[in-house]
Amino acid sequence: MIENALPDDPTPTPLKTTPLDAWHRRLGARMVPFAGYAMPVQYDLTGELATRCKGGVMAEHLHTRTAAGLFDVSHMGQAKLLGATAAAALERLVPGDILGLKPGRQRYTLLTNEAGGIKDDLMVANLGNETLFLVVNASRKDDDFTHIAATLPAAVTLEPQEERALLALQGPEAAAVLSGLAPEAAQLRFMAVAALTIAGIPCLVSRSGYTGEDGYEISVPATDAEALADALIAHPAVVPAGLGARDSLRLEAGLCLYGNDIDELTTPVEAGLTWVIGKRRKMEWDFPGGLAVRDQLDNGPHRKRVGIRPEGRAPARAQTDIVATDGTAAGTITSGGFGPSLNAPIAMGYVRKDLATDGTPLHVIVRGKPLPAVVAPLPFVPHRYAT
């Protein structure tokens, strides 16, 4: 019964490792393959750390909601986009207003394809000095960087930052923890970005994350990653947290996982991500698939991403079929599991437009049996970002 305890990963061996690989193993991580990397899914904490949190997906999740969790997300792709016209060049690939992104600010955006499908979702920061900083998904980074580099004018260059690690410090205590090491961290507003020295280490810090909580993502030279991680867990509020908790936290926060909830066959309109389209970009619709997206926005999509709450305790996982109460096909769950903060099963998925209203009763087909469920507002757990 253990064999299928984790989803099959088609990734060929050998796995790549992050700069914190040995650190994770020392702290009692259970390592699993994810997007080609050996990554910690959860920890069996010991010693002093175990007095803060025993470890495990549930405990790491709850600790992040009440104090702070430290996540290694070094598998994600980091790159600089350099040149006086870098923002204009990136706008040829994304629907966001990048020209209007001020120095010191970060924005969530999408790489779209010609049909308006989503090639990836990413963060773009303006570091000033004609430099943008991109963070893309691990599973997409090679394709993304090839795709971006292929469209750049000669004056703009893409520089993948393979010698950098990325840590996420998340939770209501994150600001107090980081401010203790770098007082300027307290002044950063949500989605602000700044170069800060943390425990003597030069870092690039953004006030953002993937949990719905206040927190930071910290880009650090790979050689300093362990020292930074040690400095952060030295604070009694912080415990290391794995990909398991990261997934349940983002699902409660209603945030999309690329490859599950969004992909090349879903559009920003269906996914409820039209807010990423910049006001100015809606004049021209001059991003890949822009006209298709405008058409879908005008005429309404056939399906929409919604939150779903199954009744009872049984989780409805990704790929679960959804049917309407009249028995007709309604859609499919794209992310589903158990929400530790809600102590109940939660899911996201796509349903027919006529069934996408909050409160609509549905059935989810779990192990061949229809279980009652209801369309629910997202996020399941309110966001508590810094202002």
């Binding site: 019964m1 299928n4 305890a5 959860q42 989780p315």
Partner: protein, 128 residues
């Protein structure tokens, strides 16, 4: 060590079995619950259900994933432990005691002895 769980047998799917007459009590091993992590949902087989050996007949779910529990031997379900359905954490805290899953009337009690004993299971765990 041999006497520790002399009356208990194990499967490679990490179920444990004890036998009282022709009634077998079945659960998942402590190793299994530890690997799965905190359980949040358990589904048990219906009473009177007739099941073949190695047939999937119960489900355990952690935050992350669902896993099947298999019948270690052939027989008929005669009792289920509904307290673990109400509180799956009992399986995490006492997998091989209060956290039993179901009892079944065996077709053939001889099959019980063919399962792994504690030493064989410990050896099997070390080989994983």
């Amino acid at each position: 060590m041999a006497s520790k769980n002399a009356d208990k047998r194990y499967t490679k799917d990490h179920e444990w079995v004890t036998l009282d007459g022709d009634i077998a009590t079945v659960g998942i091993t402590d190793h299994a619950q530890e690997q799965l992590g905190e359980l949040v949902f358990i589904e048990l087989p219906a009473l009177e259900r007739v099941i073949a050996a190695s047939e999937a007949c119960a489900v355990v779910e952690s935050v992350k994933a669902a896993s099947d529990v298999y019948a270690p031997l052939a027989g008929k379900i005669v009792e289920t432990n509904d307290t673990i359905v109400e509180d799956p954490s009992i399986v995490n805290s006492d997998a091989e005691g209060e956290g039993w899953f179901f009892r079944m009337e065996l077709d053939n009690t001889d099959d019980f002895e063919a399962l792994m004993d504690q030493d064989a299971y410990d050896e099997f765990l070390e080989s994983l």
